[in-house]
């Protein structure tokens, strides 16, 4: 077994373990972990099976099979960051609407308590 293979297996196994652990502790929502899970499993399978890795490398014309691992990891990272950008956009929109709602609610609360306060001045 060559060093590249050992490193690749150790790397993708660690990634998979970390992702699973974060999900288990509730630090990572399932919704956001799917891409991570999928990418670490794919990387692990390809690291374990040299023949599968060589088959796919030949298929797309990559001479040095381990560099296919880099390619796949890179593509997954792109997808994950793109997904996060979309999620953040949605969150910032919700955040804005919440802030506006807070301002509007606080204003009507002030109005209400002022009216209520002046009516109760007697006692």
């Amino acid at each position: 077994m060559d060093i590249v293979k050992i490193l690749a297996i150790a790397g993708s196994a660690t990634l998979l373990f970390l992702v699973l652990e974060l999900i288990r502790r509730g630090r990572l929502k399932e919704r956001y972990s799917l891409l991570w899970l999928f990418s670490s499993v794919v990387l692990l399978i390809l690291s374990l099976s040299r023949s599968l890795l060589e088959f796919f490398s030949k298929l797309i014309g990559i001479y040095y099979p381990p560099s296919l691992l880099f390619l796949i990891a890179f593509i997954f990272l792109l997808l994950i960051t793109l997904h996060f950008s979309a999620v953040i956009s949605g969150l910032s929109d919700k955040n804005k609407r919440l802030a506006q709602e807070v301002a509007l609610l606080r204003h009507s609360l002030d109005e209400l308590s002022r009216r209520h306060g002046s009516a109760q001045d007697g006692p």
């Binding site: 804005k96 802030a99 506006q100 807070v102 301002a103 509007l104 606080r106 204003h107």
Partner: protein
Amino acid sequence: MNILVIIPAYNEEKSLPGVIRDLQDHVPQADILVVNDGSKDRTETVARDLGVMVLGLPFNLGIGGAMQTGYRYAEQKGYDSAIQFDGDGQHVASEIKALCEGLQQGSADIIVGSRFLRPGEYRPSFFRMLGIWIFSTVLSAILGMRVTDTTSGFRAANRRVIEFFARNYPEDYPEVESLVLLHRAGMNIGEVPVVMRDRTGGRSSITPIRSAYYMVKVLLAVFIDLLKK
């Protein structure tokens, strides 16, 4: 006709008293609403002491988010028209009459106050002139009508536009983009000539260095708006 004047304000404690006095003198029939966009100074207290309505955002949303808060208020309270008015003193309250008259004619849903319709009264620097020319050429082509002052934040909107803006209002540099959105929503845009002052206090959010970036970003946003469904 009940009118709401919306003043988004970020760190405008110095200029706000003058702006509000100007409004109270010239448009006593209108309600005035200051939207405090998470200012770090005493903007909110100053506005309250002046006896106008104040909406306080819990943190800074930027001009688009603040303006939209005002439109949402106008929508909730059933105002017939809303005036966008800057808190820095560059807009002149006595010109609101011209905007409202334009709106009452009924041919446009939003009336933009333009600095450039009376030639020779406003002389910007060369680069500003170039930027203004590019914006107005691109926007005129998209809107199918001649618009001269695309970045003007001095505008009057009718009920239809109030309801539209309460739901859709662009965030970062909203004046130009919002015209495109309105046009795509089938609203009519009109312009009337107005006079504007130089700023009385505070700093413009647009520094010379940011101008080029601003132009590229706004044009990009406009083209993306055209692609959106």
